[in-house]
């Protein structure tokens, strides 16, 4: 076992613990915050996987930019659509 492998196992443990937290909190009635918590945890898990398992921590700038591009464009799609969906019933008909 090298320290690199140990680190990966540590990350894996963190992801699994977060999975448990996500599952556990979903049984506590928090209203809309249940989803906020579970999706935030998912983002943290994904960040861990992409940073360490997918080795973005050791990648060049180019690869990091490409990795970020997908997320940025997804937010663009969602964000600009929300200008429609969040205002649709408040104006006009």
């Amino acid at each position: 076992m090298t320290s690199g492998a140990l680190r990966l196992i540590g990350i894996w443990l963190a992801v699994i613990v977060l999975l448990g937290v996500s599952l556990g909190t979903s049984y506590i009635p928090l209203g809309p915050f249940n989803s906020v918590i579970s999706v935030t945890i998912a983002f943290v898990q994904a960040l861990l996987v992409w940073t360490f398992f997918m080795r973005l921590r050791w990648s060049g700038l180019l690869v990091r930019l490409i990795a970020a591009a997908g997320l940025i464009w997804f937010l663009l799609l969602l964000g600009l659509s929300l200008t429609d969906y969040l205002t649709r019933h408040t104006v006009g008909s």
Partner: protein, 545 residues
């Protein structure tokens, strides 16, 4: 203009990429980017004429306000076939997959694209997608329009929607693979010393296009999957009966299909920059601004899709945002037109066929772009959207813009690709015929739209007949114009005079090698110029004296 004889004549037997195997098998298994470019060129030319035939039949039918040679169903299938084929099987792959494939590695001084086998896979994927669409056409056609709006496409159309959708879905992967290849090639294979701001604008344009291809195409693919599942199983998230939203489909569709317009027109802008500088013998005016404008168009192009939905039931506030952003994206396009014009200033201009096509491109793109200003305006769009005004507008961009530029590019690089010159007077004639025919076909359609004629109308009110006849007459001239290049270019492959390495005296890296180029593109590593478009009009004039 430096002439052909300035180059030392090359021995007939010298090896080049065309002479590297003559069998069909050698072509179908090639990983040479130049040969793949030609595979693409042949395929999309076939699709261009299939789509063109559909358009011809439509224009013929529209001579009369009442049924003339077909029924409404046939007409609807024809414009759907025309749209699907021209958008996904001609325009999207046109410049990137042919000229881009041929030139990008040479322009960056590389032997091939970064992933040659992926490049060939892309072509086969394209063929597979095309096959599905052909099957859809043969087995009855599709009558939803290329936009596949729900619920017409999911519940009410009784045509081969699923085959068509699968075809477009599969073709999407060919787009993604091509875009991916160019991105990696431009990043990783540039010759030493060839920095970003020494790259020709064509490379910038194809690079920006590739980003759109890679990030927008998967959205379309998955949207079509949702459509197909809803059609096959009878319900889905776009289903109003369940409380779903058919307008959501339009958001998804236009998130791809608006950037798709930039997939078509950015490469055209790249070609225009190469051709105009060469025949004006001048460096492009404002090189950096031009490069940034390309990047800005690609980025902002993703943020304006809602302007297709002003009257579709989208909220007013969303429409305000999208209207504003649509005006923002018009700025970089305007800059490009001004800069091309300024490039001509104090040049030493000659008017070979590529230049005629490129100037035609600038003019038609200008009109197409300016009419976009009407459609970005909420109040004007509420009158004009989905009328013939829109049809005319996007044909000015896609046909007047992209196809003109594609022809400019084909004529410009034809000597490089084939090693032969085409007959100059015929090619100039074709350029002029296409320009006239195009305007005669599509300018009347602006007025038809203003008069209130909706698009996709099989029958129309008699008052629209005069302009429709004018448009159909123009279309016949345009059709003749499109057939001409096929004839004389084909002729030139065997009978054209030999072109040297650099018949136009152009400055790009691709002109430093032989025509047709050797298999590995360069016999000796190309010299990297100090700056791009290093033309000198004064020296050119002095040499003429």
């Amino acid at each position: 203009m430096s002439t052909v004889t300035a180059e030392p004549a090359l021995p007939e037997t010298e090896s080049n990429y065309l002479a590297n195997g003559y069998s069909l098998w050698s072509w179908l298994t090639t990983t040479d980017h130049k040969r793949i470019a030609i595979l693409y060129a042949v395929t999309i030319t076939a699709f261009f004429f299939i789509g063109g035939a559909a358009a011809t039949l439509m224009r013929l039918e529209l001579i009369s306000p009442t049924p003339l040679i077909m029924g409404a169903e046939t007409y609807n299938k024809l414009f759907t076939a025309h749209g699907v084929i021209m958008v996904w099987f001609f325009l999207i792959p046109s410049i990137p997959a042919t000229l881009g494939n041929f030139l990008i590695p040479m322009m960056v001084g590389a032997k091939d694209v970064a992933l040659p086998r992926v490049n060939l896979l892309s072509w086969y994927t394209f063929i597979l997608g095309g096959a599905f669409v052909i099957v859809a056409l043969i087995s009855g056609g599709i009558d939803t329009g290329w936009t596949f709006y729900i619920p017409l496409s999911t519940r009410y159309s009784e045509t081969q929607v699923v085959y068509g959708v699968i075809g477009v879905f599969v073709t999407g992967f060919s787009s993604i693979l091509t875009g991916l290849n160019f991105i990696v090639t431009v990043h990783r294979l540039r010759a030493p010393g060839l920095t970003w701001f020494k790259l020709p604008l064509f490379v910038w344009a194809i690079y920006a296009t590739s980003i759109i291809l890679v990030l927008a195409t998967p959205v379309l693919a998955m949207t079509l999957v949702l459509l197909a599942v809803q059609r096959v199983f009878g319900l889905g998230i776009f289903d109003a009966a369940l409380g779903g939203d058919p307008v959501l489909f339009q958001h998804m569709f236009w998130f791809y299909s608006h950037p798709a317009v930039y997939i078509m027109v950015l490469p055209a802008m790249g070609v225009a920059s190469e051709v105009i500088t060469c025949f004006a013998r001048k460096p492009v005016f404002g090189y950096r601004t031009m490069a940034y404008a390309i990047a800005a168009i690609a980025a902002f192009g993703f943020m304006v899709w809602g302007h297709h939905m002003f009257v579709a039931g989208q909220s007013l506030y969303a429409s305000l945002v999208f209207s504003f952003l649509s005006y923002v994206v018009a700025i970089p396009s305007a800059i490009k037109v001004f800069n091309w014009t300024a490039t001509l200033y104090k040049g030493s201009i000659t008017f070979e066929a590529p230049m005629l096509y490129a100037l035609g491109f600038v003019g038609l793109f200008l009109i197409g772009g300016l009419t976009g200003l009407y459609l970005a305006s909420l109040a004007l769009d509420a009158n004009l959207s989905d009328t013939y005004f829109v049809v005319a507008h996007f044909h000015y961009i896609m046909v007047g813009g992209s196809v003109m530029a594609y022809f400019a590019g084909i004529h410009f690089w034809w000597p490089k690709i084939t090693g032969r010159m085409y007959p100059e007077s015929w090619s100039r004639l074709a350029a002029i015929v296409i320009f006239i025919g195009f305007n005669l076909t599509f300018f009347p359609q602006f007025i038809l739209g203003l008069e209130g004629m909706p698009r996709r109308y099989f029958e129309y009110a008699p008052q629209f007949q005069f302009l429709n006849i004018l448009s159909s007459a123009g279309a016949s001239i345009l059709a003749a114009g499109y057939v001409l290049p096929v004839l004389y270019l084909t002729w030139s492959i065997r009978h054209g005079s030999r072109a040297g390495g650099n018949p136009w005296g152009a400055k790009g890296l691709e002109w430093q090698t032989r025509s047709p180029p050797p298999v590995e593109n360069f016999d000796v590593p190309p010299k990297i110029p100090q700056r791009p478009y290093d033309y000198d009009p004064q020296a050119e004039e002095a040499q003429r004296q």
